[in-house]
């Protein structure tokens, strides 16, 4: 039986704004996204896929630079030379209406660009010209597509493997809460279509989107910031009618973000002693085979809390750690490192600190008290100030003790 071979990718986000303190780092990340897309094209050619499916957000509409545009078209032409079709459904970052970039690029002939919410079906052929599968795709025409696009898809009744391609947010999918709710759909919508595989995009976390239907998010091809951690890439899918597909992850990202939490050992009395302790903690957790970009979140009680408040000290420590573990970039965060003060010792005592701990505890549930102690004005416009302020309470007990208890009394 001939299997339909597909490479499914999404959320390439070429020229998206990348996180980075330095311009060189942002350039590196921008280049990494392009490298990842180039690697996807290489993978498609190497595996001789019947089609490449791009489930939206190929680039960020307003930000697509002239040079990246050239690069993108050049890579797609490489697929064209190998007679590999590309089915591309636009997303909220690269909508397809006439005034957006997606509608105005000089796409190579092999690219089937689906810019409308109305689904269109493309038939795929093998090298001998035999029909081997179909892909039905729908795109976002605007940047704020609110309709349920999946519900518009026709029923898949063909004898050939049939794939649905769309940029959509499946409710309750892992990571959905962190994304804007565009083109929402439910697992039931996906199951209703009878498709053999749903190639989805939008959510940057790789994984199955619904238990009821073979719907998968490949995640983005390159993590953009410290929150998008781990190896990123595409899904290689072999499809046959009636057989549950088992997508294979194809790593593409040249850079791997990692967000590692390290509890400061209280025994580390100097930054020189802290550095090797952190290295020992993080080294076993490093992902091999890619350039590691690390955010180290220091927590716990440490006599170095004051030193770690200094940005210069953190930068020096970060440089030392970066060299020690061979990371491409490394950031130290120490917002929640506090002095070695036993907060509980003061709770309920007839002291100002005891009272303060009571106040901090009460404002977690007492709106009136929270309003009374809320900064006025707040430094920024917040839709839900109470929720915002309560989100700031984490670790404030220790910080309060840190502020009130002199160092020689700890």
């Amino acid at each position: 039986m001939v299997m339909l071979r597909l490479l499914h990718l999404a959320d390439v986000h070429l020229d998206t704004p990348f996180y980075g303190q330095e311009e060189s780092m942002r350039r590196r990340l921008r280049e990494a996204a392009r490298q990842a897309f180039g690697a996807a094209v290489d993978a498609a050619i190497d595996r001789e896929v019947h089609a490449v499916l791009i489930a939206g957000d190929l680039f960020d509409n307003d930000l697509l630079s002239f040079t990246t545009e050239r690069f993108l078209l050049e890579q797609l032409r490489r697929l064209d030379e190998r007679r590999i079709p590309v089915i591309y459904a636009t997303g909220n970052h690269d909508p397809g209406r006439a005034n957006y970039r997606a509608a105005n690029l000089d796409w190579p002939a092999n690219v089937h660009c689906c810019t409308s919410k109305q689904p269109t079906t493309t038939t795929l052929h093998d090298r001998n010209g035999n029909e081997i599968g179909r892909v039905t795709a729908a795109g976002h025409s605007s940047a704020r597509e609110g309709d349920n696009l999946v519900a518009r898809f026709p029923k898949a009744t063909d004898e050939l493997p049939h794939v649905g391609l769309v940029h959509a947010q499946v409710e309750a999918a892992t990571g959905a809460a962190a994304h804007d709710r565009y083109a929402p759909c439910t697992p039931a919508d996906l199951a209703a279509g009878g498709y053999d595989y749903w190639a989805l995009g939008h959510i940057h976390v790789r994984g199955r989107a619904a238990d009821q239907a073979p719907a998968w998010y490949p995640g983005n091809v390159q993590g953009r910031n410290p929150r998008e951690t781990g190896p990123k890439g595409a899904l290689y899918v072999e499809l046959a009618k009636g057989i549950e597909p088992v997508p294979e992850f194809v790593a593409l990202s040249p850079i791997t973000w990692q967000h590692l939490q390290v509890t400061c050992p209280p025994s580390a009395q100097t930054l020189d002693k802290l550095a090797p302790a952190i290295v020992a903690e993080i080294e076993p957790q490093l992902v091999e085979g890619a350039d590691s970009f690390l955010r180290i979140e220091l927590t716990g009680q440490s006599p170095l809390a004051s030193e770690l408040r200094s940005e210069e000290n953190r930068r020096t420590l970060a440089e030392e750690l970066k060299a020690a573990v061979g990371a491409g970039w490394l950031e130290i965060r120490a917002d929640h490192v506090v002095q070695a003060v036993d907060v509980e010792r003061f709770r309920g005592t007839p002291t100002a600190l005891g009272e303060l701990l009571d106040v901090l505890s009460e404002i977690g549930h007492d709106d009136a008290l929270l309003d009374a102690v809320a900064p006025d004005p707040l430094a920024q416009e917040i839709a839900d100030p109470r929720a915002y302020l309560r989100s700031l309470l984490d670790g404030l007990d220790a910080e309060a003790a840190d502020a009130l208890v002199p160092e020689d009394q700890r």
Binding site: T68, V373, L396
Partner: protein, 915 residues
């Protein structure tokens, strides 16, 4: 809590106090400066809270080498007693023994004093002139904070100070007003700058896309111009190029018609006459080479034949001749040696004849050698030895000559009768004796025995005598027999010797008594005969061999025509052999060389044939070029040369065309062919039309050049701008700044939230604790101030700050506790505040001792007395230590309050021995 006894083993300047009794209530500790008052105050605090600081503890004994060590017997208000012992060695140690239970405290506070921290105790319970006269606003606020904010703990910083610090940190991040340069402001300014860059980047992207679009348009326009230009240039080129070419092609065609065979004519070399001569010359040269090879072949054949069959046969003797050439001297030497050996054999023969004359009866004969050599010398020697042995025996027998002695000569014969007489006599006497008497019987018996013995001896001797006679006869017979046998043996032995020597005519005399000398001579002769025989045998064999060699040498030399075997003949034969070998060598070389020469001859013949063919071909080629058979060679050459000149002309013209139109000549030819078919095109070549086309082409070329320049500029611009900052990069920078700003704003709100919460906590704390303190202080204040002030209160001042105020009794007005109130009044207010705070703190705990160090010194008499009343009241529930160096002050206090004096100088005297 009261300290009843105090034991000090060592503590600062204090040493060796043993169970010094301490008064229970108000205690006046009077002593000069540096008498130890401060040390005692520290000791009290150490008892309650331990050694602080442990490192470099300031009250280590300086007079003795001991660790600080104190013990106190305590009595608590509930009546319980306890023994507290503290010692500071490498680590602080403390033991609290209470109700029979010992508890280790290490350096922790006494549990009954833990409700007040060490620092607060030092600040609040120990009143000194310095802290009592704390009148400045800052100091007072600090005191207030320490009194109120530090309740229950000595570890906290003042809440106000922390609030200020938090707000300061928050303000450095963000401020609601425009003051200063908080971090958020810096970030906003940075964002503004980056947003300007975003606009620039957007414009740049727009420009890049416009440039790309224009680039595309230019490419299209250039393609169009190129097409138009190509068409125009083709037409112009026809006018400029085709017609001249066509004319030349026509001329070439005319010339070609004069040449019968163009290919053959083109192939003719330059200089036909010279070529012909050269080919003839080459033919002659090749013929000479053939002749030369044939001559060499003949010479080599003769050389081969010079080596004849006879030479070949002689060469077969060559090896033997060379062998004999080297062996010839040895051969001649062997002949001389043979002669010498013959002479030696002759000498041996003479010596043998000399020996023969010694023993032979005649001269040595020719056949004697064999007879001599056949004699077995060992056998001869054995026989001579046998002979000599027998001869010796015979000689000895003959020398002895007589028979052995007769037996009778040795053994005499006894007469028989004396025995008979004696016997008979005895017999008689015996008979008589029987008749006559015994003695006669005895004599008769003796006579009988003697007669019998004599008879027996005579008989025995006669028997011996007969035996000896028989032996004597036998010995004589034996001697005779031996002598005869010896004589016979001698004869036989001689005969045996003679038998051996019989082949030789040995002299008779020597044979009569053969001896070993004879044997020696014969042996010597035998050896000489053997040597001579071997020599002759050897001589015979060598002579035979020599003759065979001589015959062989003769045959070898004879083969070379020599009739003698002399050295001269040998040299001539060798010379002849050398000549034969040289001829054979020459013949072999000729054999080796001849195939090569034959090959060269074949090649030379081929080359000669080729040269002949070449000449024939050239002549045939000339005839082909000319196109007719001309018998006259000169005429043939002349005509061919003329045709060749025509061909050169054609080729020159064609080369000119090719040089002028290196790429497109064939295309031109095709176009000319087309022109030939289309007469209308001729009109296009009119001059006026051509000029118009030319002008239009120039215009198009100028436009194209301008477009190319513009495209180059666009490329440069695109290349340059492509490497500049992109919108995505700027957005990244904006996102980073926005994120930083979010962090900064959140951090500010967090700090401000904490500051506000702390302010609220502080307010709550003050609300809980201040009223009680203020009420207590208000009760004390009239007593201390003589009724001038009656109330203490905390009142909000402008700006929302709370300040301590005192109410004047007379007017009911509140006055801030600050100058212009007098120092003494401020001291009293703060003392009231302090005592109120102490009572507040101790209200539900064990009352702790109070130390007042010269704090009353500035008080006027009335307030002093009032103060003593309060102290006395306080001393009802706790110990109050009043330290002073003024004796008068001590006296007044004692007088007014019945307080007890504790003189440091008298501490030793108060020491009691434990029961």
């Amino acid at each position: 809590m009261r300290i009843e006894h105090l034991s000090v083993r060592a503590y600062g300047r204090l040493v060796d106090f043993e169970r010094a009794q301490v008064p229970p209530g108000l205690v006046v500790v009077q002593g000069d400066n540096e008498a130890g008052k401060t040390t005692l105050a520290s000791l009290l605090r150490t008892l309650l809270y331990g050694f602080h600081p442990v490192t470099d503890f300031p009250y280590r004994p300086w007079q003795v080498e001991r660790p600080p060590e104190v013990t106190a017997h305590l009595r608590f208000n509930d009546g319980r007693e306890a023994e507290l012992h503290r010692k500071l060695q490498s680590q602080p140690q403390a033991t609290l023994t209470m109700e029979g239970q010992a508890a280790r405290l290490a350096n922790r506070a006494l549990p009954q004093a833990d409700h007040v921290g060490a620092d607060l105790y030092g600040a609040l319970y120990a009143v000194t002139q310095a802290n009592a006269r704390d009148l400045g606003k800052q100091q007072r606020a600090e005191l207030e904070d320490r009194l109120l904010g530090g309740f229950g703990s000595d570890m906290l910083r003042p809440a106000r100070e922390v609030v200020e610090e938090l707000e300061d940190r928050a303000n450095k991040l963000w401020r609601p007003d425009r003051r200063g340069s908080p971090r958020d402001k810096q970030l906003r300014e940075a964002l503004e700058q980056v947003k300007k860059r975003r606009r620039t980047a957007m414009e740049r992207e727009e420009r890049l896309r416009e440039a790309e679009k224009r680039h595309h348009e230019i490419d299209q326009r250039i393609d169009q111009i190129n097409g138009d230009l190509a068409e125009l240039q083709a037409r112009i080129r026809r006018a400029d190029t085709l017609m001249p070419v066509k004319r030349r092609l026509d001329h070439i065609a005319k010339l070609r018609r004069q040449v019968p065979d163009m290919a053959a004519a083109s192939a003719l070399p330059d200089g036909i006459d010279q070529t012909l001569r050269a080919r003839r010359g080459e033919l002659e040269q090749r013929q000479h080479a053939v002749d030369d090879r044939e001559q060499r072949k003949r010479t080599l054949g003769q050389t081969r034949e010079a080596f004849s069959e006879a030479d070949a046969q002689l060469l077969e003797w060559g090896e033997a001749l060379e062998r004999w050439r080297s062996a010839l001297p040895q051969h001649h030497q062997e002949l001389a040696t043979l002669t010498e050996l013959q002479q030696e054999a002759d000498r041996l023969g003479e010596r043998l004849a000399d020996h023969a004359r010694q023993i032979l009866s005649r001269p040595w004969g020719g056949d004697d050698d064999e007879a001599l050599l056949n004699i077995s010398m060992p056998d001869l020697k054995a026989r001579i030895d046998t002979y000599q042995r027998w001869q010796v025996d015979l000689d000895r027998l003959q020398k002895d000559g007589t028979a052995p002695t007769a037996a009778e000569a040795v053994l005499p014969a006894l007469p028989w009768w004396p025995g008979v007489v004696a016997g008979l006599t005895g017999l008689v006497l015996l008979g008589l004796g029987m008749g006559i008497g015994a003695w006669v019987w005895a004599i008769g018996l003796v006579g009988l025995v003697l007669g019998a013995a004599y008879a027996a001896g005579a008989l025995y001797l006669a028997r011996l005598r007969r035996t000896a006679q028989r032996q004597q006869r036998a010995a004589h017979d034996s001697f005779e027999q031996k002598r005869r046998e010896a004589a016979m043996n001698v004869g036989q032995a001689r005969e045996a010797v003679e038998q051996v020597l019989r082949p030789l005519p040995i002299a008779e005399a020597l044979l009569e008594r053969p001896d070993l000398e004879l044997h020696r001579v014969i042996a010597q002769m035998q050896e000489q005969a053997r040597d001579r025989s071997r020599l002759l045998e050897d001589l015979k064999q060598r002579h035979e061999a020599w003759r065979e060699q001589e015959a062989d040498l003769g045959r070898v030399l004879n083969a070379f025509g020599e009739r003698e075997t002399s050295i001269v003949a040998m040299e001539r034969a060798v010379a002849r052999l050398g000549e034969v070998r040289e001829r054979r060598k020459q013949a072999q070389q000729a054999d080796d060389t001849l195939p090569g020469i034959e090959e060269q001859l074949a090649e030379a013949r081929d080359l000669r044939d080729q040269a002949q063919g070449s000449l024939d071909d050239f002549l045939a080629q000339l005839r082909t070029v000319v196109g007719e058979e001309l018998a006259d060679e000169q005429a043939l050459i002349k005509q061919a040369s003329q045709i060749q000149e025509t061909v050169r002309r054609i080729e020159h013209l064609e080369q000119q065309l090719a040089d002028e139109h290196p790429q497109e000549l064939e295309q031109i030819k095709r176009e000319i062919a087309d022109i030939d078919q289309d007469e209308q095109v001729e009109s296009l070549l009119e001059q006026q039309a051509i000029e118009q086309e030319r002008n239009r082409a120039d215009d198009l070329q100028k436009e194209k050049d301008a477009l190319i320049d513009e495209r180059g500029s666009l490329n440069n611009e695109i290349e340059a701008k492509s490497h500049e900052e992109t919108l995505g990069e700027v957005e990244g920078e904006i996102a980073r700044l926005e994120e930083q700003r979010q962090q900064v704003l959140a951090a500010r709100d967090r700090l401000q939230l904490l500051a506000n919460a702390l302010r609220e906590a502080d307010r709550r704390f003050r609300e809980k604790h201040q009223p009680d303190v203020l009420q207590r202080a208000s009760k004390l204040l009239p007593e201390l101030t003589g009724g001038r002030y009656d109330r203490l209160a905390v009142i909000d001042e402008q700006g929302g700050e709370q300040q301590l105020h005192v109410r004047e009794s007379a007017t009911g007005e509140y006055r801030s506790v600050a100058p212009p109130l007098s120092h003494g009044t401020l001291d009293q207010i703060h003392l009231a505040f302090r005592f109120a705070a102490i009572e507040h703190l101790d209200s539900e705990h064990e009352p702790l001792p109070i130390v007042i160090d010269e704090a009353l010194i500035n008080w006027d008499a009335e307030r002093f007395e009032n103060g003593l009343v309060i102290l006395q009241r306080l001393a009802a529930t706790r110990q109050v230590f009043l330290f002073t160096c003024h004796e008068w002050l001590a006296d007044r206090v004692i007088e007014a309050t019945n307080a007890e004096r504790l003189s440091l100088a008298e501490l030793h005297e108060r020491t009691v021995t434990s029961a």
